[in-house]
């Protein structure tokens, strides 16, 4: 190999790899900027009251967002219960069973669903769940969020199931396992790391959505027991408070943003610990 060519390749190597490092650095800096801003602005207004008190009208100190925190948890739980299984099983179908055309249609449709603005999903859930019974409910909010959870889950499930090497599958089959048993006992666990990431990403995304909740879960200044009543949620509170004229409410909005992030963090950590994330497929 000629010397100049080697030098070119070596320099290109250095330059490109450095660029990736710079890119990663750039993203991480933006990340820390956003987190820092949130922590700075939100941390100032956090107190025990925030977690235990109901919202108080402006001008009165000591108000909190206890009901919004519980509401967001409820909504996330509903979204997970309704959306994750659909996403998971569809991913399994696409990776393991699917025929060519039908799979293509499903994938295409999933991408379409992903691109629908969240407010349109909210309006859809409104006409589906709220109008027939004439009242808002946490359930309606859960339905809207559940629909938004599906596309990301489908994509990551399919992707990581496909990544499982054929050798693992064939090994199981050779031992006499049926197809579905192979999937459940060998393939899914092998892909679990990636699938879990996808699910948590999907839930993280819907945790911060406001627009779909405005016409479904509505909002509530009080406690809302059960799932049939309108419920407060952190994103809607942030939205309402952020555009209000009062400084105190602005500070609470930042605090709520911080708490929302904290919630997602805890859910993320918790889920990974519970399912003991470890992927047999990782190579490096």
């Amino acid at each position: 190999m000629s010397k100049p060519r080697m030098i070119w390749r070596k320099s290109l190597n250095f330059v490109m790899l450095s660029l990736t490092g710079i890119a990663a650095l750039g993203v991480v800096s933006i990340l820390f900027l956003i987190l820092g801003y949130l922590i700075w602005n939100g941390g100032k207004s956090l107190s025990l009251n925030f977690f235990t008190q109901l919202p108080k009208p402006v001008g009165e100190t000591g108000g909190g967002m206890a009901n919004a925190i519980v509401g967001s948890l409820k909504l996330l739980m509903l979204a997970a219960v309704m959306g994750l299984p659909v996403g998971l099983l569809t991913g399994v179908y696409l990776a393991e069973f699917g025929g060519k055309t039908f799979s293509f249609v499903i994938r295409y449709t999933t991408d379409l669903l992903n691109g629908v603005p969240s407010i349109v999903i909210g309006i859809f859930a409104y006409s589906l769940v709220v109008l027939p019974v004439k009242h808002f409910s946490a359930l309606a909010g859960g339905v809207a969020l559940g629909m938004m959870v599906i596309p990301i889950t489908v994509r990551s499930t399919e992707e990581f199931l496909r990544a499982v090497p054929g050798s693992l599958r064939e090994g199981a089959m050779a031992l006499g396992a049926s197809k579905w048993k192979t999937i459940v006992t060998v393939v899914l666990p092998a892909a679990s790391g990636g699938i879990l990431t996808g699910m948590l990403l999907a839930l993280a995304r819907v945790a911060g959505e406001t627009a779909p909740l405005l016409f479904t879960a509505f909002g509530n200044r009080f406690w809302s027991p059960g799932f049939q009543q309108p419920t407060a949620s952190l994103p809607v509170m942030i939205y309402t408070y952020a555009i209000a004229p009062y400084d105190d409410w602005h500070r609470q909005a930042w605090a709520a943003g911080l708490v929302l992030l904290g919630l997602v963090l805890v859910a993320n950590l918790g889920a990974r610990l519970l399912l003991n994330r470890g992927s047999a497929v990782r190579s490096t």
């Binding site: 390749r9 190597n13 490109m16 790899l17 990736t20 990663a24 993203v27 990340l31 900027l33 956003i34 987190l35 949130l38 659909v86 569809t90 399994v92 393991e96 069973f97 249609v105 499903i106 449709t109 991408d111 992903n114 691109g115 629908v116 603005p117 349109v120 999903i121 309006i123 859809f124 596309p151 990301i152 994509r155 990551s156 992707e159 990581f160 496909r162 599958r169 089959m173 396992a177 197809k179 579905w180 048993k181 999937i183 790391g193 990636g194 990431t197 995304r205 945790a207 959505e209 406001t210 994103p235 952020a242 943003g257 997602v264 963090l265 993320n268 497929v281 990782r282 190579s283 490096t284």
Partner: protein, 332 residues
Amino acid sequence: MSAAATTIAHEVPPQAGPRAFLRRLRSGDEIAHLITLTFSALILLITSMLVYELWVNSHLSRVKFGWMFFWTRVWDPNFDNFGAAPFIYGTLVTSAVALCLAVPLGLASAIFLSELAPRKVSDVISFLIDLLAAVPSVIYGLLGIFIVVPLMRTTIGPALIHTLGNVPYIGALFHGPNYGVGFLTAGIVLAIMVVPFIISVSREVLLTVPREQREAALAMGATRWESTWKVVVPWARTGIMGSVFLALARALGETMAVTMVIGNAPSIVASLLSPGDTIASTIASQFTEASGELYLSSLIELGLVLFLITFILNGMARILIVATGRGGGRPA
């Protein structure tokens, strides 16, 4: 892959007929097939119902404006004259800017995190980046207003006008009054919002590429970069493209953050520094206050138009994937 597996495990006679079907049904495989099929069909059902609702509720405006809805540049709630053209333009431009910024940045970061960074560091950073996906768009909007907009108005905008603004052809993208809000600002904010999806999914997919692939390339004398770019990345092509789809979809449908930084002046101009408007942000801004059947119907029709745009863009992207060849990919 599937055909070979079933013949090894189960000697099921392949004839058709109800008894054979029932026999197959008793095997776990068919049930699994049916169950997963049903759930997949559920997505079709949901999406069809969604489109149906959009279609039905936009009846008034579809009848009144017909195809002109796509070309009319006017959006006048008072005189009941509605057109989608500026919003279509704004949606396409902001999403294009967002992807142009987010894909290189995201892919490069994902490569760094999966190939070069020590595993523990990579895990922690990736975990934190996942959190970014959870930040409510309202907060992105506020950050856009407090940080990006002033920066654009005082620093980035003028810099772009002075440098690229003088280059022929490209210069048209960077000229005119610079308020800080506009297509470019919205594109930047969108890019920050979608980059976590690209990084998260791409990183995971890159990590699944078998070690043998990298080692084979290196053994043949490739540099680290060459091995990554020419072997590892192509192997993970579908996953990475998938993440770009996710990012694109999010960019097209984003409402709150965009509406806070785009300037909300529906217009079709070349300059990226001028204010504009997008479909999603218009629907979100005006839906809650709208009263009047034609007004509401037009807003819903905008939603339908966005659906159509997503449909077309997805189609084009898929054709692009097929056209850029199957070389170097993981066997299907």
